[in-house]
Symmetry: C2
Subunit: 153 residues, 2 copies
Amino acid sequence: MNIGDASARSGVSAKMIRYYEQIGLIPQARRTASGYRDYAEADIHMLRFIARARDLGFPVAEITDLLDLWRDTGRRSADVKALAQARVRELRQKIAHLQEMATTLEDLARSCAGNDRPDCPILRSLEAPPRGGLSKTEDQAQSPTQFNGRIAS
Amino acid sequence: MNIGDASARSGVSAKMIRYYEQIGLIPQARRTASGYRDYAEADIHMLRFIARARDLGFPVAEITDLLDLWRDTGRRSADVKALAQARVRELRQKIAHLQEMATTLEDLARSCAGNDRPDCPILRSLEAPPRGGLSKTEDQAQSPTQFNGRIAS
DNA sequence: TATGGGGCTTCCCACCATGGGAAGGTCAAG
DNA sequence: CTTGACCTTCCCATGGTGGGAAGCCCCATA
């Protein structure tokens, strides 16, 4: 089976299949005499597994572990569950962050007249952030743990 | 004022200040005789505006418009409000997407024993997605509108 | 059999926002 | 004048994904 068929049957674009191979997420595909990648049913199965895991928000790096567990018939289901739960926690964290941004913005928008006049609380708020107390240039160290950047987009 | 001070006072890293200048979000900074960027109070003000807008989830591209409105004293507050609301809608959409992923994963995790046995509904689900009806290789066209990729991370 | 069109290959570029780091110039304090 | 902190530019990496070019390959139809 050519990469095009594998793509159509797995839902993973040909570009991505090559990429996954390149980064070592999936093994290097067999090649035909002329250099075409050649896939079997088992490969489609694996690709679908990957697509589904991506749908559920697993980063590619983590899917490696998931695939290992999938293939390991002697696995402990607790290990799989732990992975899923860690993912849920991260998703919830991102959600909370976005929620906070949305709520704040919504509040600001609500308090804006939205007419032809220039006066606008949104812009005023952008000028002078309402964040508690950070001004002395020192205290913005705020743990470089999870939120390095701003939006989790 | 050097870029380091501007950074400390605005909360925007020096790296980012240079980047914003490079992509044209902020004007090119004045330079001292020796080539150092030199900032004034007004620049700090602008950088803080940008930082705050990023905090609220505005993509850099959109901040250009925001800055234009900010500087335009003859603006209509309705224009600002529209921008904010569009952003809120996008945030809500991302939230909904993440929420769905989290819920699904959580359901799966709940139904997984999480013990030493290998049997695991999570992996089973990854093998065979529970999505309504997509199997015949044709129907996965699913409108390439907003969700080009999977996770909105 | 020749030709054309569609599929395959690799390679590079772009996104978005951010950080890391190297190589080299500058400034201010000691 | 030396030293160390700062500045400059330039390149690279991230994470997934798509776009596209240049050049083979394969098959069907004329």
